[in-house]
């Protein structure tokens, strides 16, 4: 196991989020340490995307506390999250097909020399970055359109690393990828952990989760439904937590509080 810090990089305590009449998140708690991969799983509509968007600053939270390295912070805008050191790689790739790999990596934060794009410096840094992450692509000067789905996903993840984030959120990075390509992306996730980044991985694929995650946090109907150590938990236990066919401390406690309220 990789070294895990004492203070979590990010901690959510009692986070709730409403959209009009819909209670999307209720009293959610989550902790992520540096050098740790936490898989966030749950059925469709369980609140995974909403939770990620609250962390990324797309949707500000209604109640609860977000703690960053032990101190409470407010994350109201995507910019706030980026300043803290949170990078998000969304499911639909945010890359431009017509621009080459270097151009995409530095899109929106081009390196300039005397007001002119410094292509040499950008290419050098891009090659350094891709080498550190052991990402292998045919050339850094070919358009994104020429890359396979897996290669594109690795470029998208590499791009999020340019800001040296402490926490990387990957939203379904292996959806729609083939076997070999999925392996490439999972390798990359492990390398992120080795480099001491905290990673939140959203996935529907239990095999992927078991392969790379240290912990699995299950969401069900907008509430926590258990956090499991991957090494000591069977796939069936996780799946039953996802579907709600489970009986554990968390659900019992939840049931009891609900019962008290109704009395």
């Amino acid at each position: 196991m990789v070294h895990v810090s004492a203070t979590p990089v990010l901690a959510l305590r009692g986070v709730s989020k409403r959209f009009g009449a819909v209670q999307a998140l209720t009293d959610v708690t989550l902790e992520i340490h540096a050098g740790e991969v936490v898989a966030l799983v749950g059925d469709n509509g369980a609140g995974k995307s909403t939770l990620v968007k609250t962390i990324a600053g797309v949707h500000p939270i209604d109640e609860g506390v977000i703690e960053w390295e032990g101190r409470p912070v407010t994350v109201n805008k995507p910019h706030d999250a980026q300043n803290l050191g949170i990078a998000t790689v969304y499911q639909d790739l945010a890359l431009c097909d017509n621009i080459d790999v270097v151009g995409n990596l530095f899109l929106g934060r081009e390196i300039k020399r005397r007001g002119v794009l410094d292509e040499v410096e950008m290419e050098r840094r891009a090659r350094d970055l891709l080498t550190t992450l052991s990402i292998r692509i045919p050339s850094v000067r070919i358009p994104i359109a020429s890359l396979s789905g897996g290669q594109r996903q690795t470029v998208a993840i590499a791009r999020s690393m340019l800001g040296e984030p402490k926490l990387v959120i990957l939203d379904e990075p292996t959806a729609a990828l083939g076997v070999e390509q999925t392996a490439q992306v999972l390798d990359l996730v492990e390398r992120l952990r080795e480099r001491g980044h905290a990673v939140i991985l959203i996935s529907h694929n239990m095999a992927d989760v078991k392969a790379v995650a240290d912990k699995v946090a299950v969401l069900r109907l907008g509430r926590n439904n258990g956090v499991f150590e991957v090494a000591t938990t069977s796939q069936e236990e996780i799946i039953s937590a996802i579907t709600g066919a489970t009986d554990n401390a968390v659900t019992r406690r939840a049931a009891r509080t609900n019962g008290e309220v109704s009395k």
Partner: protein
């Protein structure tokens, strides 16, 4: 197009390249470097590979230009005369300037149908300010260009802020600025310009000293070689792959041949035309803007994926408005050149096939209609094709209707070539 669909086809070639790269990865990550290291032979290999993959670039247009020259020269030996060629390069500047603006809009994947009317409105504005209001001509010219840019920015506002389709907004613009022009010109309908004034001189002034044309050719060649050479040195110093020296020398020699031949041709007639110099300056400047600055990178990004650009923190609205303003500004400049050619601003300015020719020139030159691919040099090549055909047919005294049909056939051919090469590129994973 969804990324899934696009990625299914290219996969095969990508994995092939990938295994090649993997084999070569011990020494270098970039297979391009390995190809290039073989010098000129490697360069030819690369060229052949590009041809097979459908990366034709400007080659179809250049071949087309050569065919046009051969055909018209065989029909009439006056076609390749210095006088005719000189006139072609002056006449094409008006439409060419408008076409440069169109390239910007096409890079976004949008269209600007108002450029013809805006060019007419700008020339009317300049004429009224200079002749009727007695403004100094340079001020009237600046006002007309600023006016064109403002008209364009207005289209951009409706498109980018209010979300109306650019097609519809600029179609409304086409009608509105036509009306604006007729209103500005007033009852007479024609305002004659001073042919010795600034606007009049735009297309009539020639640098008669033969040193001017040769000097410009020499400077252009030297600057091209030096920037390439210094760029290569920087790349080598930074340890990133650079083009081989033979490649740079070959390009420089080609450029030198073309520019000195052009200089020789101009000196056989009246000398280097001012219009051509201005056009070249704007082509170099816009090419620099698009390919070497972060503004240009943003324009290309918007043409590739609006959502990706937004997430990268690009101000989509501002870029869109600025591109339409650039289109309007270049339309106004084109209008001034067209007015200079006839030494007047009249009611027929910006009408007829001007709009279609400007768009056709950009597309014939190789700018993609689907956004994200193209260069402003495309406008030069495309407008050369269109104006050469017009002049050639004029020499043969072929009537106007036939000219339209032939220009249409050329445009259609280009679009077909574009579509076919795009298909080839897709199977080669380069679309």
């Amino acid at each position: 197009m969804s990324t899934d669909k696009a990625s299914t086809k290219p996969q095969k070639t990508a994995t092939v390249e990938n295994t090649e790269a993997a084999a070569a990865a011990v020494t270098a990550v970039d297979p391009r470097l390995l190809v290039r290291e073989q010098g000129l032979a490697g360069y030819l290999d690369e060229f052949k590979r590009k041809m097979r993959a459908g990366e034709l670039g400007s080659i179809p247009v250049v071949v087309g230009l050569i065919v046009i020259c051969v055909v018209f020269q065989s029909l009439n030996s006056a076609f390749l005369s210095a006088e005719n060629l000189s006139n072609i390069t002056i006449t094409m500047v008006g439409t060419g300037m408008i076409s440069v603006g169109i390239v910007f809009v096409l890079l976004l994947g949008e269209i600007d149908l108002s450029v013809g009317s805006v060019s007419g409105a700008a020339s009317a504005l300049a004429a009224v300010l200079a002749v009727n209001q007695g403004w100094p001509e340079w001020l009237a010219v600046l006002a007309a260009i600023a006016g064109g840019a403002a008209f364009g920015a207005l289209h951009g506002f409706f498109f980018a802020v209010l979300g109306a389709p650019a097609f519809a907004v600029t179609l409304a613009g086409l009608l509105f600025w036509l009306g604006f022009m007729l209103q500005t010109l007033g009852e007479n309908g024609t305002i004659n310009l001073d042919s010795d004034g600034l606007i009049g001189q735009l297309t009539t002034y020639h640098f008669s000293d033969i040193a001017a044309a040769y000097g410009l050719a020499a400077v252009v060649t030297a600057v091209f070689f030096l920037t390439g050479f210094l760029g290569n040195r920087r790349r080598e110093a930074a340890g990133v792959p650079s083009r081989p020296m033979s490649d740079l020398v070959l390009r420089t020699v080609l450029l030198a041949v073309v520019s000195f031949a052009a200089a020789f041709m101009y000196n056989q007639y009246k000398g280097l035309p001012l219009a051509t110099v201005i056009f070249l300056v704007f082509l170099v400047a816009t090419d620099f803007l698009l390919r070497r600055t972060s503004y240009g990178r943003k324009v290309f990004a918007l043409g590739g994926s609006v959502e990706a650009s937004r997430r990268a923190g690009i101000n989509v609205t501002a870029i869109r408005i600025s591109v339409f303003a650039i289109s309007g500004g270049f339309a106004a400049m084109g209008g001034l050149f067209l007015a200079s050619k006839i030494a007047s601003a009249n009611q027929s300015a910006g009408a007829g096939d001007l709009l279609m020719n400007a768009i056709a020139a950009a597309v014939i030159g190789g700018t993609s209609l689907f956004g994200g691919r193209g260069r402003t040099w495309n406008a030069l090549l495309g407008v050369m094709v269109i104006v050469s055909i017009q002049y050639g047919l004029q020499l043969e005294s072929i009537a106007e209707p036939v000219k339209y049909m032939i220009t249409a056939a050329v445009l259609l051919t280009t679009v077909v070539i574009d579509s076919v090469t795009r298909k080839t590129q897709k199977t080669a994973g380069r679309a």
